[in-house]
């Protein structure tokens, strides 16, 4: 059940997000090594695809998306490789990196982005080790509850979402109304 390819999405608060504004910002992140412990490689612009991945900062260990799936823009952190640790450590690390990217984007004043912390979507992009079924949910639920409580400070409610053909996914209602920085500061 131990998978590497974890994703965490936090939604943007404002509905006025213009993903193409991210393109120069992500190029700058590569140039300035904004996330120092990751190798950032390139920027993929998919703003022409409705409800698509938006703008993607392609990295070696992880990708960062300003994702517009379901017409709900948000920051999607997607870990691909290079993590060694148990399930809980993996979940915690994915939450932390997603929140950190949200904070970095919030700090880009030219964007005017702000992210909500009341709802998080967690996915595992690994149908072999983590099919979207009850057994996977049972395996990940305790870790997700612990991580959500630790970062967001309230009792979360979890809901498995999607079909068997989709990746394993859980929508977490955190009960939080705090900021991204609050969440990072709490853990």
């Amino acid at each position: 059940m131990h998978a590497t390819k974890l994703q965490v999405k936090l939604y943007a608060k404002t509905g006025q997000i213009e993903p193409d504004k991210l393109v120069p910002v992500f190029h700058e992140w590569i140039r300035t090594k904004k996330i120092p412990d990751e190798l950032l490689i390139d920027v993929a612009d998919y703003t022409h695809v409705p409800q698509g991945p938006g703008v993607v900062l392609i990295g070696h260990q992880s990708d960062y998306y300003l994702d517009v799936a379901d017409d709900r823009p948000g920051l999607l952190y997607s870990r691909k490789r290079g993590f060694e640790g148990d399930v809980q450590a993996g979940i915690d690390e994915a939450f932390r990196r997603a929140l950190n990217a949200c904070r970095l984007l919030e700090q880009e004043s030219r964007l005017g982005f702000e992210f909500a912390t009341d709802e998080v979507v967690f996915r595992v992009q690994d149908r072999l080790r983590a099919p979207n079924e009850d057994a996977t949910y049972d395996a990940y639920k305790p870790g997700l509850e612990r991580a959500a409580s630790a970062f967001f400070g309230a009792s979360p409610s979890l809901e498995r979402i999607g079909t068997a053909k989709e990746p394993f996914a859980v929508r977490i209602h955190t009960g939080s109304s705090g900021s991204v920085s609050d969440a990072l500061g709490r853990h």
Binding site: H27, D42, D45, Q51
Partner: protein, 748 residues
């Protein structure tokens, strides 16, 4: 389960499974340093595992080229190709046919190993980008389990066999070419006679002569369905190709009976493998062999080879069941409701086409830049299961075709597409541009063809309802470089990426190619009118289409108009926008569409030495371009020999400018220029392109040696001008490299 191999078990066909196991073993050997770079590179290419931009571990971040510190260290997956660098996976989809299950697996792979985007190529493949090589064996296993192989998707092999997406349901076809495309795919896959090619080999099928869906004339081998006296067969053409120098295929057989198609393809393959160029990659496609031998000699050799072939039961076995590939509708036929909404009507105008079978339609899902998401992929698979069955086809215009849609279900289909944000109207119109990956991901990209296409698409979509029908009907295609993967030669308005040096900085440009013909299987190719800065291309499209509408006679088509007024007139139209403003006035011209980095590679300054030399060499290159334009005018006027001689002279002028730039004394005599060019720019490899190597130098040297420009016919003249255009582009690129080197030396 701990692995996909265990999980999928018997669902993976034994042979495909064995091949993937072997490839996985080769990956391990490479990691252990037991396999040579070149051998491993060709091995992975033949499995569809392709390189991608920046995979040499270097990337210009807008301020200079910087190393990408991949954790793999010195481990490589080919010459100058870093192991950990993301790559592209090309997945062959023979004649573009996909089942719902296959689409679901592809979507899952896009999510798990790529960036959730599936890209349809101009040759009906699906490509996934940013893939790590170590993910590829399991990708291949999961694909194999649903009947897809990536074998020979890249490399010097028979690439994906393409066919028109309407095959079997088309009203103008002679017959359904699907079973023949399927048979040749299976017959040649892994066949020993196709393993020793010097370059790739592309095959296409068309069901009829007049419609463009198969595009056979720019393929290495093309087959057009024919029925003679009730017997099925094909008009077979050979030696076509786009690439740097587009060539129309020649007729190999006016009528090849169906039972002779596979042995003929085998014989052609054997001749190509035996006599095709192996050393010089630039001249290794079969089109060069056909040109070198002449079509009559080529025919003779193929006929001789055919006689010597040992009979093979597979040549005709498939003919026993030509209906094996037939599709069956899953819904009853019906009429489109008469009271459908205006939005539906607008979509149906270009996106629905009635089938030969009454009451059924082919629905085209117009994809932006050939892209769709994994979520959309799954939803489309559901839609197919519900309404059309396993009848999806990737199209050469980078869309998806759903066949066997009952007219009665058309509105429901449209509504479901709308919910997926996939109901864009205007399939096959000017808003439906195709594009190669260009600088987004391709190692060879010069300009951002996808960035340009996205921009044009955005602007034109706003105007869609106001477009004049004559403009709406035009086709535009963009390629990021001279290799023509965007098929721009066959567009009404085509674009090919080039760069220009302005005030010591590089500016992305596109050469505009007008007058290509998409219809009649891409019957003729366009010629370059001139280079325009990338940021002025939208204006160029506006000027070209306005000029056409203002000056056409009656219902005159765009091609007829171009033929009548000539490209010279369009050069005048474009002249005001061909020069970019100075960097200080508008720096936006110095970066490409969708990419804020300054287009310049490295920190190029304007050194004093370079400053003195620049005007002279640029003058020479401009003179060469002028000569080329005059030669193009001569060709249009029907003076082939004059045109060819002019093309050769333009190359000599460009070569002379570069030779003098190196401070070598040279006179105006072509003999002297070519000799010095060879010594100082070709032998030294200074002129050589980093990827195409000595290809463009060969154009001048060969032309000079063979004197092919003398007494040229129209076709030779056309080719000469194409080669001259590329040679001049290469001269610009060479000059830019020399400038960079001078600036770097000055900085030190």
């Amino acid at each position: 389960m701990t692995s996909w191999k265990e999980q999928l078990g018997d669902r993976i066909p034994e042979q495909l499974g064995g091949e993937v196991d072997l490839f996985e073993g080769q990956i391990e050997l490479k990691k252990q340093g037991k396999l040579e770079d070149k051998i491993f590179a060709e091995t992975r290419l033949r499995r569809g595992v392709y390189g991608q931009r920046y995979d040499n571990g270097l990337r210009d971040d807008g301020t200079g080229q910087k190393p990408l510190a991949f954790p793999c260290g010195d481990l490589t997956k080919g010459p100058d190709t870093v192991w950990d660098a993301p790559g592209m996976m090309r997945i062959k989809i023979p004649f573009g046919k996909l089942t719902a299950e296959q689409l679901e697996v592809l979507s899952a792979l896009a999510e798990e190993t790529s960036d959730s985007i599936l890209h349809v190529t101009t040759r009906q493949d699906i490509q996934l980008h940013f893939v790590h090589i170590e993910d590829t064996p399991d990708m291949m296993r999961r694909l194999a389990a649903v009947g897809i192989t990536t074998r020979e998707a890249c490399g010097n092999s028979v690439r994906n066999v393409t066919a028109c997406e309407y095959a079997g349901v088309c009203r103008t076809q002679a017959f359904d070419v699907t079973p023949y495309a399927n048979a040749i795919t299976r017959f040649l896959l892994g066949h020993p006679d196709v393993q020793d090619f010097g370059r790739k080999f592309k095959i296409a099928f068309s069901g009829c002569e007049d419609n463009p869906c198969g595009l056979v004339t720019f393929h290495d081998l093309g087959a057009v369905a024919q029925v003679r006296d009730g017997k099925r067969g094909f008009r077979v053409v050979v030696g076509g190709g786009l690439g740097a120098v587009p060539v129309q295929a020649k007729v190999l057989s006016e009528f090849c009976p169906e039972e002779e198609l596979l042995p003929l393809a085998q014989a052609v393959s054997r001749v190509f493998a035996r006599l095709g160029e192996k050393q010089s990659r630039a001249r290794a496609r079969i089109k060069f062999l056909v040109q070198k031998l002449g079509i009559d000699e080529f025919k003779r050799l193929v006929a001789q080879e055919r006689e010597s072939l040992r009979p093979d039961a597979r040549w005709t076995a498939f003919l026993d069941d030509l209906h094996a590939t037939d599709e069956k509708p899953i819904r009853p036929a019906g009429a489109i409701p008469g009271d459908a909404s205006a939005d539906f009507q607008a979509w149906a105008k270009h996106n629905l086409r009635p089938q030969a079978q009454e009451g059924y339609y082919v629905a085209i899902v117009k994809l932006p830049l050939g892209d769709f998401t994994s979520t959309q992929g799954r939803a489309l698979a559901d839609l197919a299961r519900e309404l059309t069955g396993d009848s999806i086809r990737c199209t050469v215009e980078q869309n998806l075709a759903f066949r066997w849609l009952s007219g009665a279900d058309a509105v429901t289909f449209y509504q479901r597409l709308s919910a997926l944000n996939m109901a864009a109207a205007g399939a096959g119109t000017i808003t439906d541009m195709t594009s190669c990956p260009g600088t987004d991901t391709c190692k060879l990209g010069i300009s951002s063809s996808r960035g340009l296409t996205a921009e044009l698409r955005k602007r034109l979509s706003v105007l869609e309802s106001e477009l004049h029908p004559a403009v709406e009907a035009l086709r535009m295609k963009a390629s990021g470089c001279f290799n023509s993967c965007g098929q721009h030669h066959a567009a009404d308005i085509g674009f090919t990426g080039v760069s220009r040096q302005v005030g010591g900085r590089k500016v992305p440009h596109f050469n505009i190619v007008l007058g290509g013909q998409w219809t009649e299987n891409a019957k003729s190719y366009g010629l370059v009118v001139g280079a325009v800065p990338s940021k002025n291309i939208p204006k160029a499209v506006e000027l070209i289409t306005q000029h056409y509408l203002a000056h056409r006679e009656g219902e005159e088509s765009f091609q007829a108009f171009i033929a009548r007024v000539g490209k010279k007139e369009f050069r005048k139209v474009l002249e005001p926008i061909q020069k970019p403003p100075a960097y200080e006035q508008d720096p936006s011209y110095y970066s490409d569409w969708g990419d804020p980095r300054e287009y310049t590679i490295g920190d190029i300054g304007v050194g004093e030495c370079a400053g003195e030399i620049v005007p002279f060499v640029e003058f020479g290159l401009q003179e060469a371009e002028q000569q080329l334009h005059e030669a193009q005018d001569a060709l249009e006027a029907g003076h082939a020999a004059t045109a060819a001689a002019g093309g050769f002279n333009a190359m000599v002028t460009a070569a002379k400018a570069l030779v003098r730039h190196l401070e070598v004394q040279v006179n105006d005599d072509a003999e002297d220029v070519v000799a010095n060019f060879k010594t100082h720019l070709d032998d030294t490899e200074i002129f050589h392109d980093p990827f195409a190597k000595g290809k463009f130098a060969t154009y001048l040297l060969t032309m000079h040696q063979e004197e092919s420009y003398k007494h040229a016919d129209a076709e030779t003249a056309h080719r000469t001008l194409d080669e001259a255009q590329l040679f001049i582009e290469a001269a610009h690129a060479c000059y830019q490299r020399l400038t960079q080197a001078a600036a770097a030396a000055a900085a030190e």
